[in-house]
């Protein structure tokens, strides 16, 4: 059986891709990162910037737990490489509250008990912020349809819709 310590010193090393420097503005703060091209925005946030509020639920753009706002638009950060977003404005769940005052969506999610385990919640809230900014959803049915990229396995969907409707009313359609 090959032993790691011996093989590691072999001359024919396979080199992983080299690091690149990329600068992002995350939650209003400019952050310079040294990341490999294969590092997703999601992993950059979680592992390099310790912003673990953004969640990994599938790494394939199937669950929505990793939703963040990039230049105001909601995206799946697991399907985006960090190096592709040089210069972008990234807002994560940690950046939504303003000086400790919760964002209307965060407050509405608590009031409507729009979560149980809380793991999909940051993605739901960021996605809802993006949804409100898009201005497309008006009715509960439209919210349901346009929030269907964010899975909640605890099944809090009716409460999520109610929370979004409340925040949407308070925010007058602006994110």
């Amino acid at each position: 059986m090959a032993q790691g310590s011996i093989a590691r010193k072999a001359p024919d090393t396979i080199a992983p891709p080299g690091k690149l420097t990329v600068t992002l503005t995350v939650n209003g703060v400019e952050r310079k990162l040294s990341v490999a091209p294969w590092t997703t925005l999601l992993d950059a946030l979680r592992d390099h910037l310790d912003l673990t509020g953004t969640k990994k639920g599938c790494d394939h753009g199937q669950c929505g737990a990793c939703t963040v706002l990039v230049d105001g638009r909601r995206i799946n950060s697991c399907l985006t490489l960090a190096v592709m977003k040089a210069g972008a404005q990234v807002t994560t769940i940690e950046g939504l509250a303003n000086d400790g005052a919760l964002h209307p969506l965060q407050q509405a999610f608590i009031e409507h008990d729009a979560f149980q385990c809380g793991y999909c919640t940051p993605g739901q809230i960021c996605s809802a912020a993006g949804l409100i900014a898009e201005g497309k959803a008006k009715s509960a049915d439209e919210i349901r349809e346009l929030m269907s990229g964010n899975i909640c396995r605890c099944g809090a969907y009716p409460n999520i819709v109610a929370a979004i409707q409340q925040a949407m009313g308070q925010m007058g359609g602006k994110s």
Binding site: T39, D50, K55, C58, F109, D113, Y157
Partner: protein, 736 residues
């Protein structure tokens, strides 16, 4: 004394969850982390002939590749590998133990690297040669090889004879496919290496003490050397009751590298963990013309692995619920080349009651009787199996209030008779039943003279609301505002708690808090009595309560001493008490929760599309601690019922013994657009017998019966009976 119990108190951990501050197992970024990635078997059965890790080891940044050949030592006995909730019979799975392959997706190598992406890339370079052997993964093909497992249900009368003589008979087979829990959080462990063999393990688990004992057994560690933490868990649903293999491998990696290691499974790899077993259910109901049951027979054949016997009660529910002089049950399991099946939300009941309640609907059709009326005619106020009364049972009210809220009296019983535009409309209902379990559990309260209390125990809050209900109960029992209560959970060093499952946590935890709060009250009374001219001089423990920050006479609130004064006078700045709950071993009563689910579906027959437009779930589950979290629990159960009825199925390619839809896009779970109006009703159910607070628990009851109510609604809409779940459009358009 109930300022908080019974109210819709918002979750005390809500702010942490909406701001991203709540940390889950894979998010503790401790110093010096190495990252793991698992390599899984691509065959279902056989042996590993060769693992070539040389190329993986050439990748710069790779630290090691562990396999069964070079791993650190692990225990050799089954006893060491048996966790608290392992099946009694069998030999638990041991990852990376030897060259034997027992299921597709089995972990066979662990790549450890400086960065996760490097580990993941290197894992793709590990080459494996297998000696494959013939495998079996199809339950339907193996049903004749299934064997009977011992179950405690008592048969009564002669069900076969009574069935043969019945006026109206219904016999049918129902099928539930394998389903996977798919909690949103990926299974993850972060193992922090402290040197000297001491480890702190952040694990995704429903039971930190279960994992702690298991790791000590597997790695021959002293109890003090391993601490397991799980302050938050991103969904469990049963998947995290047993320790999962990632915690073994992460620990193995940390021991091999003498360094902290994180291992996060991929969504795909999580399909190599436990699952709700595919089950074939056969129901035989014999009825008298008047609409009462003469016989009830229930047989189940479920999946287990080749190495453990996992079985739950699928077949006993009907004979518990319904009056029938004759009843029989058979529970079989078939061994397949798959991982061991596992508890998944309402294990046994979600599947068994689905079949039972569809069969009851079919019987109602045969009897030309309203489905609710049939259940009322078979209704019993006694547990029919043990012939004992219930501590409480308000199922009749569930039927009544649920039917009223739903508008059931407007139902035209004729299938295909109701329409909404071009859609067929169907209304169906079903009964739900689960056990009201309670477990031994301890809690600690530390009360400080500034009027603050910390309540702690090792329980996990998997999203159910344990933090919140414990804070509510403590606030009421100590007479403090809830903001003055801190709850600490999910740490193996805290007082003893069982795994969080089976709907037993609310009853067990609230009783533990009340029990230890009484010790605090006792101590405060002792201190208060010592004060000069104490207004409580002659008071006994039963005469005093804690309220508004005071210890006060129950009869005369004016006779009171502020808690702070009593503590200050006694020169005590903190009172710390720990005590376990205790429950009488009461065999004279049955303890159950009940529900009645009513569902409306709309079916576009041309497209075969089914939408669940309305569900009313009326639940009788004792006293409700928190209307907010309780409603969310039931709502979540209903959403699971929708998934079970219409979406969820783990699909195998039996030629390869592999799962074809091992991801969360092709394994369909309900999304927001699939879920419409859900109304939850809590029927008043006072219970002075079950425990002092009258608490029963809600985690499972919400799902039980919902899939049947939907399936029955689909029949009512279309006249077509699809008995194998999920009811997909291909089955519906094919059905007669």
């Amino acid at each position: 004394m109930t300022a908080y119990i019974g109210t819709a108190t918002p979750r005390v951990d809500g702010r942490a969850k909406v701001t991203g501050a709540a940390k889950y197992a894979g998010e503790f970024n401790v110093d010096g982390l190495a990252y793991g990635e698992v390599v899984e078997s691509t065959i279902a059965k056989g042996r590993i002939v060769r693992i070539d890790t040389s190329e993986a080891l050439r990748v710069a940044g790779v630290l090691d590749v562990l396999t069964h050949r070079n791993r650190p030592r692990m225990a050799a006995t089954d006893k060491a590998w048996k966790d608290d909730v392992a099946p009694e019979t069998g030999s638990p799975f041991r990852p990376l133990y030897d060259d034997k392959i027992m299921f597709s997706g089995q972990p066979i190598a662990l790549v450890l690297a400086e960065e996760w992406e490097i580990a993941r890339y290197a894992a793709s370079l590990v080459r494996i040669e297998y000696a494959a052997e013939p495998h079996a993964t199809d339950l339907c093909a193996q049903r004749d090889a299934a064997f009977v497992v011992e179950k405690p249900e008592k048969p009564r009368g002669d069900a076969a004879k009574a069935y043969a003589a019945a006026d109206v008979r219904h016999e049918a087979e129902y099928f539930i496919p394998t389903e996977h829990h798919n909690p949103m959080e990926l299974f993850a462990s972060t193992v922090e290496w402290h040197g000297g063999g001491k480890l702190t393990v952040y694990d995704k688990t429903q039971g930190v003490q279960n994992v702690q004992r298991y790791l000590c057994g597997v790695f021959d560690k002293k109890s003090d050397d391993v601490r397991v933490l799980s302050p938050f868990m991103g969904g469990g649903f049963g998947a995290g009751l047993r320790p999962q293999y990632q915690v073994v491998l992460a620990t193995l990696g940390a021991l091999a590298l003498e360094r902290s290691v994180r291992l996060v499974l991929t969504r795909q790899q999580m399909y190599g963990l436990g699952y709700r077993p595919a089950t074939i259910e056969t129901l035989k109901l014999g009825a008298k013309a008047g609409g009462t049951l003469a016989s009830l027979s229930h047989e189940a054949i479920a999946v287990t692995s080749q190495f453990e016997e996992f079985a739950r009660n699928d077949t006993g529910w009907g004979a518990l619920l319904y009056k029938s002089a004759n009843a029989s049950y058979v529970h079989k399991v078939a061994r397949l080349d798959v991982p061991t099946s596992a508890d998944m939300r309402a294990p046994g009941a979600a599947t068994g009651v689905y079949a039972l309640e569809c069969a009851m609907d079919e019987l109602a059709v045969a009897l030309k009787l309203d489905p609710v009326e049939l259940r009322l005619r078979c209704y019993s106020d006694r547990d029919q199996t043990e012939d004992v009364p219930y501590t409480s049972k308000q199922l009749r009210e569930c039927y009544r209030q649920g039917a009223d809220a739903f508008g059931w009296d407007k139902r035209n019983p004729e299938p295909r008779s109701m329409h909404d535009g071009g859609d067929l409309v169907g209304w169906g209902m079903a009964t739900g039943v689960w056990e009201a379990l309670q477990m031994p559990m301890a809690a600690r309260i530390v009360l400080t003279a500034d009027g603050h209390a910390e309540v702690s125990c090792a329980a996990s809050d998997i999203g159910t609301g344990t933090y919140t209900i414990m804070a509510q109960v403590a606030a009421d029992a100590l007479g403090l505002p809830i903001d003055s209560i801190d709850v600490k959970l999910g740490d193996s060093t805290l007082p003893q708690a069982p795994v969080e499952g089976g709907s037993w946590m609310a009853a067990s935890a609230s009783h533990a808090v009340v029990t230890v709060a009484e010790e605090i009250r006792k101590e405060l009374l002792r201190l208060a009595k010592k004060m000069p001219d104490s207004p409580l001089a002659g008071a006994k423990l039963a005469d005093v309560v804690l309220a508004d920050g005071k210890i006060a006479s129950r009869k005369d609130a004016g006779r009171a001493v502020p808690i702070a004064d009593a503590m200050r006078h006694g020169a005590v700045d903190r009172i710390e008490k720990e005590k376990a709950n205790s429950f009488k071993n009461d065999t004279a009563h049955a303890r159950n929760t009940h529900a009645a689910a009513f569902a409306e579906v709309k079916v576009d027959e041309q497209l075969g599309v089914i939408r669940v437009t309305r569900v009313v779930s009326a639940v009788a589950a004792g006293r409700i601690l928190n209307l907010n979290t309780a409603r969310s629990q039931i709502m979540g159960g209903v959403v699971w019922g929708i998934g079970m009825a219409l979406h969820e199925e783990t699909a195998y390619d039996h030629r390869f013994g592999r799962i074809m839809n091992a991801n969360i896009a092709e394994y369909h779970v309900p999304v927001n657009a699939d879920v419409h109006d859900i109304e939850v009703i809590f029927v008043d159910e006072p219970d002075e017998i079950i425990n002092p607070l009258g608490i029963k628990g809600l985690g499972e009851i919400g799902i039980v019966g919902v899939a049947a109510a939907i399936a029955n609604a689909v029949y009512h809409a279309t006249g077509k009976r699809v008995r194998d779940l999920p009811i997909t459009l291909d089955k519906l358009t094919r059905a007669a």
